[in-house]
Symmetry: C2
Subunit: 644 residues, 2 copies
């Protein structure tokens, strides 16, 4: 498969979108249609005060609930649609409109509702889910504390079981144990899923989730609960983030979400998972949907930005040949092409892997028979995709803003809210750098261990027990090098540069080399007697680099594999996009390939030239490519993209 063939001169955006959003194109289109009807929320975001806009977003959330989109992922017996994959596609599509609405929906239906669904048992489902789906019961997901964000296992909130009254006493022992940044807490939430250290008879059992009412039916704060408003934020002004503290708040025994652990009638703690750490991460693992939703919604936001900037680049003229009366469009300029085209290609690549991930999630959660190892791989993939997609989004929106100059700075042209609202996506639902370390741990242990639960010392111990060779897959280094040699005719410097097998080979080689190398270094550190925390901390940048190389490889493979599913007429175009994506990714990291003998200087330069050439070839088609993202004009809304 090579990208040598000429792309169609006028590809149909309709075919592109059918490819991009498969197999949930109808879900995306349905949500977009709904959002387009309520597109004035984008103006209200600009015009209203924070307090007003919070109410606007709540109204929009309840409207969304009335359309049934909020229940897609919940069981049919409680009024839901029973389709997990479609529910993610639906939240993802919310990313095309106001992102406060997307985040508020994510908190209510994804995190709060999802916790009840996945961590609770039938009694919780029967009691709450119907009201969660309709928005009659609004809730919070109170995990993060002031003192502990990434290190959730160390949260300090306590839930002590009182055998006498059969109640839990939920308590905030210190200021740093205060629940912080909690969406839906400052204004609207009535019930909170609170993560706390469970103590029974002076014995600690680790973090568990409890349902704690924070406001009563009249919306008064419950006794013993203190609610503060986090105050103004960089963005997401329609989300009411707050802080929760509990002063000996008593809740009934049923408040424990008891899917994996419970207190029996004798007041004894029981759990189907013996190890406390593993229990905790099994608990968290069921919430993988949140990460996939955030990555998907971020990607949608990047598509809005790319569509606006691309349209502007085809309309805006500045400077030009003296011979012409008309100035040249911005898209004529090489620097402008190089800014936008690789980002468009990457949005396509990430879409392909995102859609694969949704399908994988759907299967994993729809059939209970899966191996734990599969679930771990899903979690790892979700973590990696979330990180890459949200980093991409931050970069893409920034680049698009700059590419639109002063016009890009006006709020009406959408970048202001897009930038501000998505900025925290790299941080929440798992800090990207922390997520990358999680991916790396999984790879280093080949998912044989539950990597979520692995302290650095465990990873190192795991490595110490095995020969380094076994850490590297059987497909690894030497045979791969051979395959690469086959794929690359050694004639000219740019021979085979458009061969997609060559690209995939390069990405695989890099990943496997980095993985073997890191394993070796970790082992060496231990063998030399250093303590594991120090060894791991000292190699932290290598860990993140390796994980990123892995995720980039899986994204490229998804993209390449997905092309075959597209209509034949657009396949040559998609192959060119894949080549641009692969080569521009290699270009960014070409120093590494040069350092490791995988690129000659001449070939490295040829890659840079080829990226420029592909940008030039695709630039005239860039508007069709972004029209393939199929964001309705009502949602693009930017006068520079929609008018004239």
């Amino acid at each position: 498969m090579t990208a040598e063939a000429a792309p169609p001169t006028n590809p149909s955006p309709h075919l592109l979108l059918a490819y991009l959003d498969a197999p949930y194109a109808d879900v995306t289109a349905g949500v977009h249609e709904q959002l387009a009807k309520r597109a004035e929320i984008l103006d209200q975001q600009i015009e209203q005060s924070d307090a007003e806009f919070r109410e606007t977003v709540l109204e929009a959330l309840l409207e969304l609930a009335r359309t049934g989109h909020s229940g897609i992922g919940f069981p049919q017996e409680f009024g839901g649609g029973g389709d997990i994959g479609a529910s993610i596609a639906s939240v993802q599509a919310l990313g095309s409109s106001d992102l406060s609405l997307m985040v508020k929906a994510g908190v209510q239906f994804g995190l709060f509702g999802g916790a009840i669904l996945h961590l609770g048992s039938e009694r919780h489902h029967a009691r709450y889910l119907r009201d969660v789906i309709t928005g009659k019961l609004l809730g919070c997901f109170a995990m993060t504390e002031t003192g502990h964000g990434s290190n959730v296992q160390a949260v300090q909130t306590q839930a002590t079981y009182d055998r006498a009254t059969r109640e839990f006493v939920v308590h905030t022992p210190t200021a740093s144990a205060r629940k912080d940044y909690i969406g839906n807490a400052a204004a609207h939430g009535r019930l909170a899923v609170v993560f706390a250290q469970l103590v029974v008879d002076d014995q600690r059992h680790g973090v568990h989730a409890f349902l704690v009412p924070i406001r009563d039916d009249a919306h008064r704060t419950m006794p013993g609960v203190t609610i503060e408003d986090c105050g103004p934020k960089l963005g997401l002004k329609g989300v009411d983030n707050g802080r929760l503290s509990f002063d000996g708040v008593r809740v009934e025994r049923d408040a424990l979400l008891n899917r994996y652990a419970d207190i029996d009638d004798e007041g004894c703690y029981t759990s189907s998972i013996e190890d406390a750490g593993r229990r905790f991460f099994t608990t968290l693992g069921t919430l993988v949907q949140g990460r996939i939703s955030v990555g998907g919604a971020a990607l949608s936001a990047s598509k809005v930005a790319l569509t606006i900037a691309t349209r502007y680049a085809h309309r805006r003229r500045q400077f030009g040949p003296p011979s012409s009366q008309l100035e040249a469009t911005l898209m004529t300029y090489r620097v402008h092409q190089r800014r936008l085209l690789p980002l468009i290609a990457r949005a396509y690549a990430l879409s392909a892997s995102q859609q694969d991930l949704i399908v994988q999630l759907h299967e994993s959660f729809s059939f209970d028979s899966r191996e734990p190892q599969d679930r771990r791989q899903l979690e790892s993939r979700a973590a990696g995709q979330k990180a890459l997609a949200t980093w991409h989004t931050t970069e893409a929106i920034q680049t698009c803003r700059e590419a639109c100059g002063g016009a890009g700075y006006l709020a009406e042209n959408r970048f202001a809210a897009l930038k501000a609202d998505t900025d925290v996506f790299t941080t929440f639902e798992g800090d990207n750098t922390v997520l990358m370390q999680l991916v790396a741990k999984g790879l280093l242990t080949q998912f044989k261990e539950d990597f979520n639960d692995l302290a650095p010392i465990d990873v190192v111990r795991f490595l110490a027990t095995m020969a380094v060779g076994t850490v590297v897959e059987k497909t690894a280094l030497r045979p791969l090098v051979e395959r690469l040699r086959d794929a690359v005719p050694s004639k000219g410097d740019d021979a085979g540069l458009l061969n997609l097998r060559y690209h995939v080979g390069m990405f695989r080689w890099r990943e496997e080399h980095l993985r073997a190398n890191l394993a070796r270094r970790l082992k060496r550190g231990i063998d030399e007697g250093s303590d594991p925390f120090t060894v791991f901390a000292g190699l932290q940048d290598h860990v993140v680099t390796m994980a990123k190389a892995h995720v980039e490889r899986t994204v490229l493979e998804s993209f390449v594999a997905s092309i075959g599913r597209a209509d034949e007429s657009i396949q040559p175009l998609l192959e060119k996009l894949a080549a641009l994506h692969a080569l521009s990714t290699i270009e960014v990291d070409r120093a590494w390939f040069l350092e490791h003998g995988r690129l000659s200087a001449a070939r490295s330069k040829a890659i840079t030239s080829m990226v420029g050439r592909l940008c030039g070839e695709l630039a005239p088609l860039s508007e069709q490519l972004t029209d393939g993202f199929a964001i309705p004009d009502e949602l693009l809304r930017a006068p520079i993209a929609v008018n004239a």
Copy 2:
């Protein structure tokens, strides 16, 4: 000079700031003191509506004027201080507080006042300057139009001389000729400096500046003038950007700012500069102060962000060795060190070149006898510094926000406003990409031509007239390579890596190689018969790359040269910072050095390791390094940096 020596364990922030802000340390301190007294503006920026905050910023501006800081750069006879360098240092220091105030002050005193001072003659000075300095007369700088931002020479607003009435008729012929994004226009400005195409007796004389009243003493819009509000923006909500249109507005003959051209008593056009293009760019050239101010203020904003993120990194703990009760500070982690330390080093480097630039500006404007070539070099340097400093600022603030996680997302911690307000700095006072092309043109023609005025075709023609060899300076390639060999003992892979002569040599070699190469390619394109616009457009990315390499070299040289002026006790520390700055810059571009045979694979890897090592060595000193930026706590204001 090498950075091998151990740095002091407890460097004095006082000595660091004396070094950083020299020779204007007292000016910076004075402005900071003033700003600290009015630091509640930072809260008001969060709490007030756009309309309220505009008035707050206006009040703060007038307060500033009362302290005398606004007049520093104006002649003493009109109540000014007559010190141009100090005036830039003063605007630069405004970047440590609210940036709407900095921009509004820049518009009023820098652009509006500066245009009257530099483009007007004594009658304008006598009539206006005193009121400009006190803020009694508020004004606008109306250059950019909806249709023309970067290509100012093509603005469409017309000023037609009416010989009969001795008046100019200022007119907006089309919607795209509307003056756009004009600061001070929407609410407060009374007089505008309007850039328009001058037409006398049907003859066009190019762009000139005119003083046009837009509001009367009662603040009513003048007849024939239409003022619109640009509406909400991504940031800078305290700046009242507006749009101005003129419908046959008549102004007296004296309205022409006539330093370089005039209409004489007979109604004839006269100018001391014959060529219209050169006249225009001489006109613009006097406004170089704006660019230097913006670059400096951006740098100040980056220092605020770096100080907050560094303090947080020393306070915030997350995860840690199982053996310890206390979790590890974020600054313990290699990835965190690598995020922040190179940015701190770059802020030091850019400060050194910024201070050099201010001194150069001061001399250029204080003594009229300078060569035009010197002025061109100053303009080029200002353009390059502005681009690098504002790009740095965007990157630094984003990185710092992410490094503070969720806390970084709260408005109270400053990043929200810092990010939003500075985002347009890469665009205004010259789009960075366009500025880089201007730098390149100057270099290609060795400042013998007025590069501002050079169309691509002129550059190419210039090159075509000379042998390529002469484009490259005498110090160029071969002898330089020899000098490098001397500087780098060829023993180990990291031998000499800390030698500052080696760094400077690498930067020079890259610049000169890129310059010679680009000149060759441009010539070849022409020799092959392509049209110059196409040749230049096709090489646009090379043009920008070359210019960036040049500016990075001048910044590094400034930094290295400045170290000798510092107190001896901190010189070892500054040398380490310079080494980190140089090596991390080379690291980013190491692919280029590998491709061009200037780095071996082993040495390239050694550079990456050395950057990590230097980050680790400097991390424990990072709080002192950012305390050297000397931003008062009142202005830092972020609870995560100032409390506990």
